[in-house]
């Protein structure tokens, strides 16, 4: 187990580094940040001075070398736009995004799994069909459009919820969070729903498909034949067996939620990392883009690792030692 973990972590670090190279080069070729940043009134000499000040006049390999050297010491560069360490800027925004993603994930799992199992157990009932119909609608709507409709209905027409922003925050475990106050919570509801709907639909479908599959398995048929209560069959046999794919998906989706929050954060003006990324791409703030991606990659690789461990705990047939390669 420990050997396996060490290997995985090593591989993950390699992945992160490969990612850094790709992103660094990628962003380098998009364009020159100075063209957007510098005042339009600046003369050529002043533009050149800015380029030099930001270290962009050096050859690519040199810039990259400096980046790697600093990164090894934990410094991912200084934002061109904000003039502060890129990592610090992102960490400022991390709690907002994590809160949004976790609440959305909790919503999609908490609602998605029961609905999916229900629909899987009674696929032909009205409820089962309605759930499936709803889930189809759930991921048929483009995320940004759906967000706009939510704002239109709940904020503009009904006036129940605020249209955007984060509202009041309070300190919780050293982080600024919204869900502890009414004001914060009211700002959180719409973006969380917007982010959750798609994943919820996905989880409903997955839970339903797997429930149906599990119900066809001999041991479930056996259990039924043995006269176990339907409740026990569902809780013990069905739920346990649909957990493997569901955990995989949750693991994958938490990471993608952090990223998909980009759209939700843009629509709802939620001050998270995703919004920062879009702004940084628009301004070609390379250090922030690179730092964002590296951090996201780290988070996701970490989650994947966790998923693999849980995976092996849930299904003893799959041994970690066999996966280490």
């Amino acid at each position: 187990m420990i050997v396996y973990l060490v290997r995985r972590v090593g591989q993950s670090l390699l992945a992160v580094m490969a990612m850094a190279v790709l992103v660094f080069l990628g962003v380098f070729f998009i364009g020159n940040p100075v063209d957007v940043l510098v005042s339009p009134e600046a003369s050529q000499a002043q533009i050149a001075a800015t380029v030099e000040r930001l270290g962009l006049d050096r050859p690519l390999y040199e810039q990259f070398g400096i980046f790697v050297w600093n990164a090894l010491q934990g410094d991912l560069g200084t934002s061109f736009v904000y003039g502060r360490p890129a990592l610090e800027i992102i960490l400022d925004r991390l709690p907002a995004t994590m809160e949004l993603a976790l609440v959305a994930l909790a919503l999609s799992v908490g609602i998605g799994i029961p609905l999916g199992v229900w629909a899987g157990l009674r696929p032909d009932s009205i409820a089962g069909r309605t759930i499936m119909g709803g889930s189809i609608l759930g991921f048929s709507l483009p995320n940004f459009w759906q967000g706009m409709l939510l704002i239109l209905v709940f904020a503009v027409l009904l006036g129940w919820l605020p249209a955007g922003g984060r509202g009041e925050t309070t300190e919780f475990l050293g982080m600024q969070v919204s869900f502890l106050t009414w004001d914060g919570l009211s700002h959180l509801i719409l973006p969380a729903i917007n982010l959750a709907l798609f994943k919820m639909s996905l989880i409903i479908r997955l839970a339903r498909a797997n429930t149906r599959e599990v119900c066809m398995q001999d041991y479930v048929k056996f259990a039924r034949a043995k006269g176990l209560s339907p409740r026990r069959v569902v809780l013990v046999h069905v739920l346990k067996n649909i957990m493997i794919p569901v955990v995989t998906i949750i693991g994958l989706e938490l990471g993608s939620m952090v990223a998909f929050a980009i759209v939700t954060e843009t629509v709802f003006a939620w001050p998270g990392m995703g919004k920062l990324l879009i702004d940084s791409i628009n301004l070609l703030d390379r250090p922030v883009i690179v730092a964002y991606l590296m951090l996201t990659v780290l988070i996701i690789v970490g989650i994947n690792l966790l998923v693999d461990v849980i995976y092996s705990l849930l299904d003893p047939r799959i041994r970690l030692s066999e996966m280490k390669g």
Binding site: I30, G31, D35, S39, Q44, R53, V81, G165, K275, L276
Partner: protein, 534 residues
């Protein structure tokens, strides 16, 4: 229905809080300030936020006329020397007095700001020396004649030398060679209200990056008690949500509502104010032998022929663009700056004449037209991409087949500066409110050593115009300078060196109990927002 119980309560609570907010103002801005350091990044978003906290020696009113600020009066002693009388009795937020030392310190700090993406040195670079005759009299010596010095000074925020840890004696030296500066705090330090100390009407309370900037009233303000107890400035970068925030009552005022939403906002009882801005939207054409993105001309660049450029200008129905695309919130442009701003000549708008345009094309040897790429940003100017498409439609009518190449501003500017577009659409806002600004940047011959034509990505060149412009820029006498600038612009426009399309109109939307005098420079200055009752 049960699921809605929770939001309903939240809504009621939010409504309950509303009356207490009468002393407070919240504004939805379309972009976020990158720093609270007013000398870090020369960017309109930063400027409009920092103007609430910091002031400068001069100010510009809503029409960009220069008026006294922290300097009560000034005079040009000779071509390169200016004497400023500083206002007496001005206090900083920390209670200390404003003196000439603060001014010298502030100007000295500009070149010492690290990592600046767009430095204010473009304003201090030409200052050779500064000397305090006494605490409230200051002389500034420039390296060359600069008639626009009082205009430039508006951009240089005055910081508190005490709060930033300067020595008792600060001596000016050009390009960062000042003495007595102490340990100069860098931009990140300004997130701390104890460092971001200015003389402005509001005090920095907190800056939550990505979320809000909150300022509170400065009771000791020299210009009288400011209107609002507290002002919250929230960046809401997407257009739709910004409008929604206003309609839902989350903010009291927003800048730049999308034009198409204005009727809806008005219909809901909100006030709309708008003004012609100092920004012109123009087409620039690459006027050198070697031009990419042109087809059907056997490798020749048709844009070198003034008749072709004239044909392009004549084929554009500017009225249709301002009416249909800009919803009436723009004005067809005949010049590079809207009259009556400094250096304009009331030149009429080019008449729409597709017949004549086709004739001109034929005369120039392109009876069947040609194909060309039109570059445009899609997130920089109001409806920029839409305008570019409309232009493409109109050029198609005279036989020029246009493919619109739209990209985000970051890529667009990089590609434009690399001369990748034979024709491009862009905008120019003259921050000085003076004709020399667009002429110098957009059409003066590209010359790195002189610093001329930095944004002339059409590489237009007219030596006669260059000379006239250089003379004008070194002339203190306003009347003479005005005439020279008018003549210089006429030379360019007669030659169709650049094609003005329209002037943007800047729009603000606010609750009916507020008023705001619309500014030509497009800034949203919270301190200038007033309650309509007064």
């Amino acid at each position: 229905m049960k699921a809605f119980g929770l939001p309903l309560i939240a809504g009621v609570m939010a409504a309950g809080l509303a009356p207490a907010a009468a002393q407070n103002l919240s504004i939805g801005l379309k972009s976020e300030a990158t720093s609270m350091d007013p000398q870090f990044h020369q960017l309109s978003t930063n400027i409009q936020v920092s103007k609430n906290i910091f002031e400068a020696l001069t100010t510009q009113d809503a029409l960009q006329m220069v008026t006294p600020g922290l300097a009560e009066s000034w005079e040009a002693v000779d071509d390169t020397t200016w004497r400023f009388k500083l206002r007496q009795g001005v206090k900083f937020h920390d209670g200390s007095d404003f003196t000439a030392r603060d001014v010298i310190y502030s100007f000295c700090r500009v070149p010492l700001v690290e990592n600046s993406p767009s430095a204010y040195t473009i304003f201090t670079g030409g200052i050779a020396d500064m000397a305090a005759e006494d605490d409230h009299t200051l002389t500034i010596t420039t390296t060359a004649t600069n008639p626009l010095l009082p205009v430039d000074l508006w951009s240089l925020a005055i910081l508190s030398a005490n709060a930033l840890g300067a020595d008792d004696q600060v001596t000016y030296g050009p390009d960062g060679t000042c003495e007595g500066m102490g340990d100069v705090p860098q931009a990140p330090a300004f997130n701390d209200p104890a460092v971001a100390v200015g003389t402005g009407p509001y005090i920095l309370d907190r800056y939550n990056r990505g979320s809000e900037v909150v300022v509170t009233r400065f009771d000791g303000y020299w210009g009288g008690t400011p209107q609002w107890e507290q002002v919250t400035m929230r960046p809401i970068t997407s257009d739709g949500p910004r409008v929604a925030a206003l309609l839902a009552g989350d903010v009291d005022m927003i800048e730049s509502p999308p034009i198409q939403d204005i009727p809806r906002i008005e219909q809901d009882g909100f006030t709309i104010v708008d003004a012609l801005s100092n920004r012109v939207i123009y087409l620039h054409m690459l006027q050198q032998e070697d031009a990419p993105g042109i087809g059907g001309t056997d490798g020749e660049n048709p844009l070198l022929d003034a008749r072709v450029r004239q044909a392009i200008s004549m084929s554009i129905n500017r009225e249709a663009i301002t009416e249909r695309i800009m919803g009436g919130y723009a004005q067809a442009a005949g010049e590079l700056l809207p009259p009556p701003m400094f250096g304009t000549s009331e030149r009429p708008v080019e008449a729409y004449d597709p017949e004549r345009a086709r004739e001109l094309l034929a005369e120039a040897g392109y009876p069947d037209g040609f194909s060309i790429t039109l570059g445009t940003p899609n997130d920089r100017y109001i409806n920029d991409e839409q305008v570019a498409q409309a232009v493409a439609q109109m050029l198609a009518q005279i036989g020029i087949s246009v493919s619109v190449d739209a990209s985000t501003a970051s890529q667009f500017f990089s590609r434009r500066n690399a001369l990748e577009f034979p024709v491009y659409l862009a905008g120019w806002g003259a921050s000085s409110g003076d004709m020399s600004s667009p002429l110098k940047s957009l059409v003066a011959t590209y010359d790195e050593t002189l610093g001329m034509g930095p944004t002339n990505a059409g590489r237009y060149s007219n030596p006669e115009m260059d000379e006239l412009l250089m003379t004008a820029m070194a002339t203190i006498d306003d009347e003479a300078r005005d005439q020279m600038l008018q003549d210089a612009q006429t030379l360019v426009l007669d030659d169709y060196g650049i094609i003005p399309l329209h002037y943007e109109q800047t729009v603000w939307a606010m609750k009916p109990d507020l008023t705001y005098e619309p500014r030509v420079d497009q800034y949203t200055l919270a301190a200038e927002v007033k309650s309509a009752a007064e």
